[in-house]
Amino acid sequence: MIAAFIVLFRRDLMLGARIGGGAGVGLVFFLMLVTIMPFAVGPDMALLARIGPAILWVAALLATLIGLDRLFQADDEDGSLDLLRMSPLPLPLVVLAKGLAHWISTGLPLALAAPFLGLLLALEPKALLAVTGTLLVGTPALTFIGAIGAALTAGMRRGGLILSVLVLPLMIPVLIFGISATAAALSGTIPFMTPFSILIALALFALVSGTVAATLAIQNAEG
């Protein structure tokens, strides 16, 4: 069972990396959102440094939505999902393997790119570290919350738009605690670990509940 899990995980990583996989698109979108911000708010370094973490977080949240619609839709369209459902690997583990592979090819690059993009926003080193840390923990939460919407809209044409509307409200708590952990690291009025541990809890909760909810959505899809 573990072998089957790893095989599916590796296939999805491979598909994401190949032509048409779309793993890089979210990252490019993230880069674009962050680079257009200084044009929008003006070249005030102090202001950019102050709102920089928020810009990075909102941009990462939006970039996560890109490509999320293909998480199950691609397998649903070509019939692979039917065969995955019939395989000896239990469906929750299929969902988990696909979600993890999706996070590694789309979410993790966002967290790793954040410190470099933070330089563009004149963030101080402490803020760079805090944003990277919170994104590292927060992006899996975003991916697995998104997986619920992806499973619900798998059989829908143009499901990506509905998906965004469905899951964005659910992502708000992750955004709140991601930002407040970053703010805590900078201002020091509350300890960094207080909001950060809630963020970790949200990520773990999303990992489990997202997997279960997406499994139920796939099982009950008419088709």
Partner: protein, 200 residues
């Protein structure tokens, strides 16, 4: 080993598709499911595969491992070929073999049996519709499943490929396998015909 279907009914979107359907399929037997469009041929196969819930009735496989669910005793070949354009045929079959378990034939050998040995390292995106269908057929050979559920298996196949496919089915039946195929045209191998009533 035999498949027993008892009092099966299917309701799709509030509309009854069929009801009170009962049949038994013995080892080594092929069943051709015929019927007009919308009679529920595909629904029946998907219910047996566990992909659609049955509204009523029971399905069971007798003489197999009691712990193995019906879905894991069956191969399902639907309308769609379940192939990824970015993967080569060899990668595709190797992946499915590892995932499905109970390996039967080596991926390369399965490709040669369906006449795709020369395309093993070519991305599936470059395959023609008939070649893609043959690659989907090769997936039946790589993992052991006694029951084959085939939905219009010969669509997109030319005469030579159809003969090749008939050979695969005959060999599967000879080894004690079972085949349920939804079809419009008569199949090229000996099979019992089961007709589903159409909508009125």
């Amino acid at each position: 080993m035999r498949l027993v279907i008892d009092g099966l009914a299917s309701i799709r979107s509030g509309r009854p598709v069929f009801s009170g359907l009962g049949l038994a399929l013995e080892a080594g037997e092929a069943l051709a499911i015929m019927g007009s469009n919308g009679a529920g041929k595909s629904s029946l196969l998907r219910i047996v595969a566990g992909l659609l819930p049955a509204s009523e009735g029971s399905l069971r496989i007798e003489g197999g491992d009691a712990d193995t669910p019906l879905a894991e005793e069956a191969h399902y070949l639907g309308h769609r070929d379940a192939l990824k354009p970015a993967l080569t045929p060899l990668e595709t079959l190797t992946f499915w073999q590892s995932l499905l378990g109970r390996p039967l034939e080596a991926p390369q050998k399965a490709l040669e049996r369906v006449g795709l040995g020369h395309t093993a390292h070519l991305p599936s995106a470059y395959l023609s519709a008939g070649q893609r269908r043959r690659l989907a057929l090769a997936r039946l050979l790589i993992a052991h499943r006694p029951l084959w559920l085939l939905d219009e298996p010969t669509s997109a196949l030319d005469a030579a490929s159809e003969a090749m496919f008939n050979g695969l089915v005959v060999a599967h039946l000879a080894s004690g396998g079972m085949v349920m195929a939804a079809t419009h045209a008569p199949l090229g191998f000996a099979s019992r015909i089961f007709t589903l009533g159409g909508r009125s």
